[in-house]
């Protein structure tokens, strides 16, 4: 028998001895605490299904169908207001550089720290 096997053999004996010890029983207090935790963390009856569908999870995150309806309405109103603004100012305002001029004159490149990076 090799020296390496000897070393492992006494470890086997140690594992057997430790695993052969009688298992410890939990106290009633621990059982009561675990059960109290379980009841406190438990979803409401009929609540969370184990795996929800993606659409249901997204809707739940947004606040349900009612909230989604409000979101759609608000988006439609915003779109209509936007169209009205364009008809007043004209589509050309979008690419005539007015916003760019405001950005360069008022804020400058330093607003994002690019001047430091570019030296």
């Amino acid at each position: 028998m090799t020296d390496r096997q000897d070393k492992v053999n006494w470890v086997d004996a140690l594992l057997d001895d430790v695993s052969g010890a009688a298992p410890a029983d939990p106290s009633g207090d621990l059982m009561a605490r675990v059960l109290a935790d379980a009841e406190a963390a438990m979803p409401a009856p009929g609540g969370a299904p184990v795996r929800e569908g993606l659409l249901r999870q997204v809707l739940a995150g947004l606040g349900g169908w009612l909230s989604v309806g409000g979101l759609v309405a608000a988006t439609a109103v915003g779109f209509a207001v936007g169209l009205g603004a364009l008809s007043t100012v004209g589509l050309d305002a979008l690419w005539q550089g007015e916003y760019g001029a405001y950005y360069d004159d008022t804020l400058g490149f330093s607003v994002n720290g690019w001047d430091f990076e570019e030296g």
Binding site: V8, L14, V18, P23, A24, P26, S27, L30, E39
Partner: protein, 197 residues
């Protein structure tokens, strides 16, 4: 003494089914899981930590993690008992690695205050348990799990392979390397633990 990982009557619902019922707010499932799993978690923690208060903290913490993961539990991907076993092992390992002292030798353990026969044997048993637990904490997780499942739970290599999601050959390798690493971690302690001349 070993305890089968899934020891319960076959006509009772398995842990995954109980956990799904718990996630739907079934208080009876909460009680059944508590009664079935808490003693195992506590016994496993006691075997590694040897301290009732710490073992209770670990068992409660592990069970709390189970309650919290219940709504997201993916049935069929893992056994609840194996998941819990791994959580308890990792929580105990974290605590063992934070302990300031290394493995205990028999002559380092406090003198027994109990004069009754058997006190010395209990002291020896505690020294062995503590030394083994400290050595197990030095192993990589999969080696530690393979050794513990094999020797503490009496699991066969195919059972360990299924629970760890590896091949049987890999389990044999993990167990062999784990025991060699234990021998290295316990080097010089055989005599003090009563395994030499």
């Amino acid at each position: 003494m070993t305890m089968p990982l899934d020891a319960h009557a076959t006509d009772e619902p398995d842990e995954a089914a109980l956990l799904a019922r718990y996630a739907r707010g079934d208080a009876a499932a909460a009680r059944a899981l508590t009664l079935r799993l808490t003693p195992r978690a506590y016994a496993q923690a006691m075997r590694l930590l040897g301290d009732r208060a710490e073992a209770e903290d670990v068992a409660q913490d592990a069970m709390m993690r189970l309650w919290k993961i219940a709504p997201d539990w993916r049935a069929g991907e893992a056994k609840v008992t194996t998941w819990l076993y791994r959580v308890v092992a990792n929580l105990c390992t974290d605590r063992l690695r934070r302990r300031p002292r290394g493995p205990l030798a028999l002559d380092e353990v406090a003198e027994p205050t109990d004069p009754a026969p058997g006190a010395e044997e209990r002291l020896q048993a505690e020294a062995r348990r503590a030394a083994l637990a400290a050595a197990l904490a030095t192993l990589p997780e999969r080696q530690r799990m393979a050794v513990m499942l094999r020797h503490f739970e009496g699991a066969t290599n195919p059972e360990i392979a299924e629970r760890l999601g590896v091949s049987v050959e890999a389990v044999e390798s993990l167990t062999a390397r784990g025991k060699r690493a234990l021998a290295a971690a316990l080097k010089g302690q055989a005599a003090a633990l009563g395994y030499e001349g």
